[in-house]
Amino acid sequence: MKLHNIELVNFRQFKDRQTIDIATDSPRNVSVIYGENGRGKTGIFRALMFCLYGDKCLSQDELSGEQKKEGLNLVNEVALKENVGTSVAAQVAMAFSHQGQTFRIVRSIDALMKTDGAIVQSQGSRVELQQTDVTGNTQPIETDPDKITALIQEILNSRLRDYFLFDGERIERLTRNTKERREEVRQGIRALLDLDAMELAIAGLKSLISQIEKEISHKSTGELQRVTTIIADLNAKIEKLENAQELGSQELKRLVHKIHEISELVSENKETADKEKKRQELLKNSQDLKVERDALKREMAGYLSKGAQLVASELIEQLREELELRRHKGELPPNIRKEFVENLLDSERCICGTSLGHDHQQERECLLEFIKKHYTPGLGPESLDLLLSLSRLSSANTGLADQFNRLLTNNKKLGDEILELESKIKLLSDELQEGGTNIDDLIQERKKLEEDKRKLEREMDRQADDIVRAQNEREDLKKKSIVLEKQQSQVNSLVSRRILAEQTLEELEKIYNRFANAAKEKLAEKSTENFARLADDETKKDIKKISIDENYMLDVLNWSGQRRLGEISAGQRQIVSLSFIMALIQVAGNLEVPLFMDTPFGRLSGIHRDHLLDTIPKMASQWILLATDTEFTEVEAHALRQTNAWGKIYELVKEGEGTTRIVERDVHQFTPKRKSIH
């Protein structure tokens, strides 16, 4: 960035439009703005900060929190007094070039003086960025304050401004051993060397790792292991039950076979054989009846699906009758939809072809009366639909109860018949049991076997129930385990991601530290070189080098390697700080930034001033000095003239109360008011 000029309109004590052209041509790259205290040097510094960043106060302004928020009044008070009750704008425009393009940034702010003398300043400022093309025409290219701020940040990051646009008396703060100062040095190094991106990546990786760990913690519950154990237990239980069922089934076969064998033996006795034959017949009949009853059961199931109709049959009938009655009374909408009638009226023609136009008023009124009478507001066609469906249900219900009753009666009859048959079978079985000894034994044995068979069947039923229950439970748990396995797989994947992120972070931090350390070393080396050029011999005898430690603390070491920052003077600290700033410019490569110093020599001794005047023009692309008459005397003017770098001199002249005029002087003929205070 190279600064071309600054134009002020009614800004602070600079009334009307006033311009300062900045020396840009190398080697004449030094501009001096000269003025006594209170003439507005800091006002120009303020104008620069306002124009570039919209600042309404400076860091050195000792303001309360509220005042900082409001900012200082930037509009010239004389202009405000001349226009009481009318808004007056203060404007600062700054022309500069950057990377071969020429820009002009114009920022303004309004204020108004009330009749009681109170000044009200607007909260925000207006800003416009203009660009000058090759033909010299300047056109606005951006008016969005956010976009302009972003652009200026790219050109001269606001974090860096304190290094290049500063109050000389305050610059020595860089060397104070406080956390804030260390942070300032660190920020300077980071911003200049573009370490921000790498720090952002490191912070991003740390955040990613933390996020992954949270996810891992969230998903790792140990639930899968518990569910898997239960499923294994259930598998074992089911297997055991199924084995028992298999054994039971074989036993059942054996019992059936044995019962059959005994029955054969029993049949061999004639008398008992007849009884047994009869018993078998009865058993078969009983079986047939049971089959018949099963068929009846299926038929009954069909009727159960109509159970609701059956249960609600009385209600259906009652409601149907009530709706029918309401329809007769005209309380329900008729079969014809209201929309249909309205459509006839709209189209002015009936479906029979009769005109329903306004010349057939009688027919129209007839239809309107029909709508009024039959269509109650809020009632749709649902009531009529319900009436129709209840009528259909009512018809369908006819005979339903009888059929249902028939099925129940038949079922009861069958049940009775089966009971009767079973009673006869029991009787015959008892008689067979009471027969001959052999038969007795056989029948007794068969009876026992039949009892065993029944017991076994009950046991097998119970086992079957247990199997179904266990299978259902296992099925549910399997579903759950699939979800948990998926989560576990996600956990494994997350762990891999975390390891990868941690490895990347470790490597990135190594690179970052190597790069930052190398930068710190380089900065310390260049700072020491600059210091050697700027410091006087006495100072150099005490200080060997400038160092930047691992905590970004700027320090000076004596020839024994001991830290000596606490012992050096404020002026020497200023030299150390300037050495560091110049080193920043050198290490950053092609950094073209004007060095704008308010009160540059206030605390410096003569030799330090000479060294600065000799050295800085060679290192900085532009040097703008805002100097008082006591620090820019004939001696400094002479020294600067000798460098051949002095391009511009402006004097700030008091015109009246609250007004300063910027007057350009001839560099070659300008004579400061004081010879020297030294």
């Binding site: 009954m300 009727y303 159970g307 109709q309 609600a312 049959s313 209600l315 079957a464 229950r469």
Partner: protein, 150 residues
């Protein structure tokens, strides 16, 4: 997907879920869950008891109801339950809410009068061994006779 006011969900208590499953599965007593639901609602209405489902579970939507039978019966019951105000007939969501409360009460009645003795841990034991059809038919016959008395 229709809006819930146009296609409301039928809810039952979670405790009846397995009963609905067993009674309405393939080759079981009822062809559709809607049949059992409407039957339960009719029983609840007949007994004049409405009971909100607890820990409710959605089982089907309005669009699954048989428009000729289920819809007519449930609509008629809702109309009857709300002092025969015709304006309720267009409010499917309200009709379904009333039906759910009746169905809940109806299923409780079936449970108290039959299923309770054959259930363990919320499951119906050996349903194939129970004469469910006959028992339900007898319960319905009993209710029908009670209805005739009223």
């Amino acid at each position: 997907m229709l809006e819930s006011t146009e296609n409301p969900m039928a809810y039952i208590s979670k405790r009846w879920e397995s009963l609905y499953d067993v009674l309405c599965k393939r080759d079981s007593v009822f062809d559709q869950m809607t049949n059992l639901f409407t039957l339960c609602a009719a029983i609840g209405h007949l007994n004049g008891e409405e009971k909100a489902p607890i820990d409710k579970k959605g089982i089907f939507r309005w669009s699954n109801l048989n428009s000729e039978t289920d819809v007519s019966i449930l609509t008629a019951m809702a109309w009857d339950a709300r002092e025969r105000d015709l304006s309720i007939l267009a409010d499917k969501k309200r009709i379904m809410e009333i039906a759910c409360d009746y169905a809940e009460s109806g299923m409780q009645y079936l449970y108290d009068n039959f299923f309770e003795d054959y259930m363990q841990d919320g499951q119906l034991l050996r349903p194939e061994k129970l004469d469910i059809e006959l028992n339900l038919a007898q319960i319905l016959e009993g209710l029908r006779q009670k209805q005739s008395v009223f």
